[in-house]
């Protein structure tokens, strides 16, 4: 889009149409590379080996962030529209249960639905996604039509969805899943799924009407309404997409763990929000890019695996991670203030 400016008939009134703006992701990309280099140096000093030149570690690092990343793709859109979604982590737990209950091996005597075993993996996947859509619809409907703040609506959903997940089997984990279902979480699949959804919604945000309206609603909901946008309907769609992606994340997680557990995904929503915010998405709405969120998710992964690599105590890891998130928001505020000032 940015490059199209040169192909449009340049009028005499655009003296500096060629002025290039650097994409804002460059600075966080720099932070990411800097962080990796820092771990590389610290690695040679303290552990005596390379951080980067270790494919296995890189793979683990990316894999563990893929599930967060899939959620973050949805949450980024919610935040750009001026909202927030706290229910994603609980939704991962709920879809894990629903999907797992339909993915048990044929003939397993203690199956949740003994008559529905050995199904094609399409069924558990579809059930999980539908579950995500329904929860997202409820979130969106509450926010759009009852005027309660997104924080409250999704906080309520966060508690309720976890409750449903626990109720589903009285807290019992669901095991004996089919190999074909487990294959979804094997190898590089989670990463491929993450990058695929990130790409799809990157395109959607930048080149479709859906994306333009999302930014518009986040930047100024009243002006969006006066411009003829059906704000309420659009908000419902955005939260449904966020729910769908949380469901997808729950499916991937279940397939990877080859077991459905009601307690999984706790805190995922906050990591996903952190990835979006580190990636430059503004919590006040109207600003954000998918590429930034992908880098934000990778930064979280680099932090975790870097500290583990250096044998840093888990408590310290959390403390520093918290600091990085706050620093990202401070930097964002600073950028905004400078923009308003200049």
């Amino acid at each position: 889009m940015a490059t199209d400016i040169s192909t449009a008939a340049p009028t005499s009134e655009t003296p500096s149409a060629g002025r290039r703006r650097l994409p804002p992701e460059l600075s966080i990309l720099g932070v990411m590379i800097g962080m990796m280099l820092l771990f590389e140096v610290l690695g040679w000093i303290f552990v005596g080996q390379s951080f980067i030149a270790n494919p296995l570690r890189l793979k683990i690092m990316i894999l563990q962030e893929a599930e967060i990343g899939i959620i973050a793709v949805g949450v980024t859109q919610v935040i750009i529209s001026g909202g927030i979604d706290l229910s994603s982590g609980s939704l991962v737990g709920l879809t894990a249960m629903v999907a797992a209950s339909l993915a048990q091996t044929a003939g397993f005597t203690h199956a949740i639905y003994p008559s529905l075993t050995g199904l094609n993996p399409i069924f558990p996947v579809a059930a999980g996604l539908v579950c995500g859509l329904i929860v997202g619809f409820i979130n969106g409907w509450l926010i759009a039509f009852t005027n309660i703040p997104p924080f409250i609506a999704t906080l309520g959903m966060m508690v309720s969805a976890r409750g449903v997940a626990d109720w589903y089997t009285n807290g019992q984990p669901i095991g004996n899943l089919t190999d074909s279902f487990a294959a979804i979480g094997a190898g590089w699949w989670p990463v491929i799924i993450f990058l695929a959804v990130a790409f799809v919604f990157h395109i959607a945000l930048r080149y479709t009407r859906y994306g333009k309206f999302t930014y518009a609603i986040g930047a100024n909901p009243l002006a969006a309404r006066v411009s003829g946008i059906n704000v309420e309907r659009h908000i419902v769609v955005i939260y449904m997409i966020a729910g769908l992606l949380s469901g997808l994340s729950g499916i991937v997680h279940t397939a990877r763990a080859i077991s459905g557990q009601a307690g999984v995904g706790v805190g995922f929503e906050l990591d996903a929000i952190a990835a979006a915010v580190i990636g430059g998405t503004s919590l006040s709405g109207g600003v954000g890019r998918m590429t930034g969120t992908v880098i934000g998710a990778v930064i979280l992964g680099v932090l975790t695996s870097g500290f583990t690599f250096l044998n840093v105590d888990a408590h310290y890891q959390e403390i520093i991670k918290g600091g990085v998130i706050v620093a990202a928001v401070v930097a964002d505020q600073y950028r905004q203030r400078r923009r308003k000032g200049g």
Partner: protein
């Protein structure tokens, strides 16, 4: 003469000593500019002890600005202040309070979730030895204050449970509680019923008897003659004259308020007026306006005049479906249509430039192109959801050139543009939808003269192309200069439609301030 400090003034006031100056307050040669606007130009004002001094003038004449300067909210660029003959300098509202100047704002400044007593004594709560608030004492003081002013309210009520009129009373009591010598009231009756106004006037008379000076801003002539001793008239940021209320008539005041020469030239052209494009009958939005009826023809510019708050913008919002009507009929090109949301209005060929650029117009964080295309996207320009970037960009470039938006490129965030250029971007947004009915709410507010003239020219051009234009404006010269007919509103009712040839400032002002 040396200036005295706020704290000295406070001590003098509390000692009860009464310096013998005739004027409580003398303000001279005050000048105040805001970016791009000269709000007050060499204005002087005097307030006598025990008098009510009314301030009158059109919207934007400078009354409120002057009062905000006297209340310490704005700092003037130049000018001098004398309080009871002593030179003073105000640098904050708190200073003003300590000098004994209290202002009751038009928009109420109470904290809704606190009680009446807490609101009145905020920052001055009676404390016990441990620094805790003594609620019983606070209640007692409030009761005493209310008795003095004859206000029948319970000090323990939460402010959010009060009616607007009662909140107004609390504001007045609060101002009185500072034992101020000077009370400034900015349109205190705008939300009051007749009985409540009577009550307010009783309070004002009590205060007068206590030798306080009261500055009373109003648009209502009858109030002026009932309560005021003097009246000062303002026009376009200038002081026009001071008169004893008994010596002037209603017509005198109106003449003073509007008696300006129209120096500005408007590019108005007579164009053939076509068929009725928009027909409105008995349009009502409960609580805002009622029974508005008019026809708007192709090629016609229908001006909407009236004071701020008279319901003009509400009519526009209702026509465009932002706040759907509670009753009445709208017909477009002869076909009746119930407009329930802005999308429906747009589909019927309408466009609406809102009054408040920042609040309901711009997407400040987004770039120019995103801002321009947002309304257009409803009318297609997308294939399978994908926006036709090239075509839209070409349209945006075209609009940018046509409206002369001053920016290096279309990717500049709208935040960085001047008010005039932001307005042009918004106009471009609507022109791109090729509207047949264009509603403009204050199309040139707060923008510089050059951009103003360009926008006026554009409006004329559009009318020439057969677009039906409805233009709300608080600027009398603009309304008179641009409109074919002028609809005047007052307190939610239309008080008349005046033809261009019969329209004078006096006539419009009479209709607007019955």
């Amino acid at each position: 003469m040396a200036t005295i400090s706020p704290s000295t003034a406070e001590i003098i006031r509390q000692s009860g000593a009464v310096p013998g100056a005739e004027y409580l307050l003398e303000v001279s040669n005050v000048r105040k500019t805001f970016p791009g606007v000269l709000a007050l130009d060499d204005v002087s004002f005097r307030l006598k002890r025990g008098h009510v001094h009314a301030l009158m003038g059109e919207n934007g004449a400078g009354k409120s600005t002057l009062m905000k300067i006297i209340a310490g909210i704005y700092t003037p660029d130049s000018g001098s202040f004398k309080l009871k003959g002593q030179e003073i300098k105000l640098s904050s509202p708190l200073d003003a309070l300590r000098y004994g100047i209290a202002m009751i704002h038009q928009e109420l400044n109470l904290m809704n979730y606190m009680t009446v007593a807490e609101n009145i004594w905020i920052r001055r709560e009676p404390l016990n030895g441990f620094g805790f608030v003594r609620h019983d004492e606070m209640r007692k003081r409030t009761k005493a204050l209310f008795e003095r002013l004859d206000i029948p309210l319970d000090p323990e009520t939460d402010v959010r449970d009060l009616s607007v009129a009662n909140r107004q009373m609390v504001e007045i009591a609060k101002a009185v509680s500072y034992d101020s010598d000077i009370l400034i009231m900015d349109e205190p009756t705008s939300a009051l019923t007749e009985r409540e106004v009577e009550h307010l006037f009783k309070i004002i008379r009590t205060l007068k008897a206590q030798d306080k000076g009261i500055v009373y801003i109003t648009h209502k002539m009858n109030e002026l003659f009932e309560i005021a001793d003097e009246v000062s008239v303002f026009r376009d940021g200038r002081f026009v004259g001071e008169h004893a209320a008994a010596d002037v008539t209603r017509d005198d005041i109106i003449r003073l308020m509007v008696g300006r020469e129209i120096t500005q030239m408007f590019p108005k052209e007579t164009v053939p007026i076509g068929d009725v494009a928009l027909s409105v009958r008995g349009l009502t939005l409960e609580g805002r306006f009622r029974d508005v009826s008019f026809d708007l023809r192709k090629g016609e510019i229908l001006g909407f005049a009236g004071l701020v708050g008279s319901g003009r913008s509400n009519v526009a919002e209702t026509l465009f479906g932002v706040t759907p009507a509670t009753s009445g009929a709208i017909a477009i090109d002869g076909k009746e249509i119930a407009i329930k949301n802005p999308g429906m209005a747009m589909d019927a060929g309408m466009a609406f430039l809102t009054e408040d650029r920042k609040e309901s117009g711009c997407f400040l964080l987004l770039d120019i192109m995103a801002n321009m295309q947002m309304a257009l996207l409803r009318h297609g320009y997308a294939r399978a959801g994908f926006v036709k970037e090239r075509e839209i960009e070409a349209l945006c470039q075209q609009q940018k050139a046509r409206l002369r938006v001053r920016t290096p490129d279309l990717e500049e965030p709208v935040l960085n543009l001047s008010g005039g250029n932001q307005q042009k971007v918004l106009i471009a947004r609507w022109l791109m939808t090729r509207p047949r009915i264009l509603i403009l709410d204050e199309p040139t507010r707060g923008i510089d003269v050059g951009a103003k003239a360009e926008i006026h020219k554009l409006i004329t051009e559009l009318a020439g192309q057969g677009v039906a234009v409805m233009m709300i404006s608080s600027e009398m010269p603009e309304v008179l200069g641009m409109s074919d007919r002028i609809l005047v509103m007052h307190e939610g009712r239309m008080t008349g439609i005046v033809d261009r040839n019969d329209a004078t400032q006096v006539k419009i002002m009479e209709l607007a301030s019955q």
